[in-house]
Amino acid sequence: MTSAAPFLIFFLGAALTAVTRGTLRAIVLLAVPLAGALNLYALGEGIHLEAALFDYRLEIVRVDRLSLLFGYLFHLAAFIAILFSLRLRDTVQHVAGLLYAGSALGATFAGDLITLFVFWELLAITSVVLILARRTERANRVALRYLIIQVLSGVILLSGALVIAHETGSIEFGYIGLDGLGSWLIFLAFGIKCAFPFLHNWLTDAYPEATPTGTVFLSAFTTKVAVYALARAFPGTELLVYIGAAMTMFPIFFAVIENDLRRVLAYSMINQIGFMVCGIGIGTALAVNGAVAHAFNDVVFKSLLFMSMGAVLHRTGKIDGSALGGLYKSMPKTAALCIVGAASISAFPLFSGFVSKSMVMVAVLEEGHPIVWLALLFASAGVFHHAGIKIPFFTFFSHDSGIRCAEAPRNMLIAMGLAAIICVFNGSYPWVLYSMLPFPVDYAPYTAAHVLTQSQLLFFSALAFCWLKLSGLYPPELPGINIDAEWSYRKALPAVVRWALRIGGPARTSVVARAERRLEATFLQIYRHHGPSGLLARTLSTGSTALWVAVLLGLTLLMYYL
């Protein structure tokens, strides 16, 4: 069987999607990830596509255990997201979704930094379309901010790659480690896409503003490509342990007081990526296995949660916690599926988070980071609180908002059902996932102690919620936004620029006026000599030129004879 580059199948599929309609398009859309997965199976490990760029060797498709796992994951995520968006009548979103998934695959299988850069930027350009597709003024502005930050990340990546190429003569994308300017630049580029603290606001800004289906696509790819890139280039970098711990901690506070429920999920996404980053920072076989396994599970349960909120937004047109409530009456199936996602992200026994997050937790203790472990445990309780309870509670239960709508469309229910099945399967029978991890797994998730302690942690977190709610201490869902690090570039920076323009106004006017006068004088001078009536620009008729040439020749002849 011949095989193709994984991203090509998606790009070709996108082209076919653009020219087909109706049922035929649905078939094309669903066939793309299936054909892609078969192709990937046939591809196997090794370097499959090479090219030369000047003196450098580009490994455009390189497959190994780590990239293979993410490759399958992205095919699965694309299939679920496509199923969810199947009934959408929007060519732009379908095409952009496939191109975006293809770009993620391109980045995953990139064997060198230049190929990685190309797909890194393609991820930015293709995904921004899913935000623009909301077709509102607000989404347009968000999309621009998102694009600037994403492209900036790519530019920093390219700068780092060039520094490394200059220093080492190699552009191979392998272990880099923090050593020298080039590696720090690449670390920063990965950090932006991975939503490190203070670099994270593009995520919470953009994901809640995309279309209901767009967010499902967005949640699966960009950040997980960054996690993959970190796992390949910076495993065992101690700094990541602390960055990861911070990422698990700070978003949960914002999530508790956030009203837009898709933004709550965006914050909880940073929290989950924090566990992965922490695991990569620890760098032992158990920790990296845990990080990668958690990335796999997170993509599935996070898309399940985003799908359930997308279905609610699709049916009710609302997504704020303060405007929703009591929807279990209208959308009982969506509610049940959302709860499966909530149980999975909260790491309940038998659900997927349970078998992967604990690998990171155990590794953190084994490597002697008890304080970080306490932080992760705090965040584990916190994630149950805001994603596990808050999301389903304020949407489907709580006070009845009076909204009565239809259940989610069937294709959406099937997509959510598929994700839910995978959540339960991976949680109850983790061995298939474990067998795909980069290192051999020597870890048993289902010990009596682990099941008991995790249940205690979660049930008592629920008890705390219950007590806070009944005693009236729990903060109500209120309309409004909370300022975050983005305040620096959305409020402070524009204010500084406006202030500088005002203060510098008079000075600027005089400088500009002087420059204008100087320029005008220069142009006048040029005009005088080269303008239509200028001596140097005057054109002569052919006849007079011939005459003058004849005169010159005559003079030359005369001189010769003399």
Binding site: H385, L452, Q456, L457, F459, F460, I481, I483
Partner: protein
């Protein structure tokens, strides 16, 4: 929708009460589990009686109370960024 409003599960406050009491029961059982399950602790704190339940409860209360205070500093109107 139907003309007759349908009775749903939590329209009856008794069902809400039942759900809450079930949670209390489950918590009690989980806490008692500490007497019966031998734990190979990776860290001494883990071996303390009731460590996980107390930590989970405390973490959530702390989380919510701190977040509530954060609201006073961070919360703005919806159109805060639109000049």
């Amino acid at each position: 929708m139907d003309d007759k409003p349908k009775r749903h599960l939590f329209d009856d406050p008794r069902n809400t009460k039942r759900a809450i009491f079930t949670l209390y029961g489950v918590c009690a059982v989980a806490l008692l589990g500490d007497f019966f399950v031998l734990r190979h602790a990776d860290h001494p704190w883990e071996a303390l009686f009731g460590f996980y339940p107390l930590y989970g409860f405390g973490a959530c209360v702390l989380l919510v109370l701190i977040a509530k205070q954060m609201r006073k500093v961070l919360m703005r109107k919806d159109d805060y960024y639109d000049d």
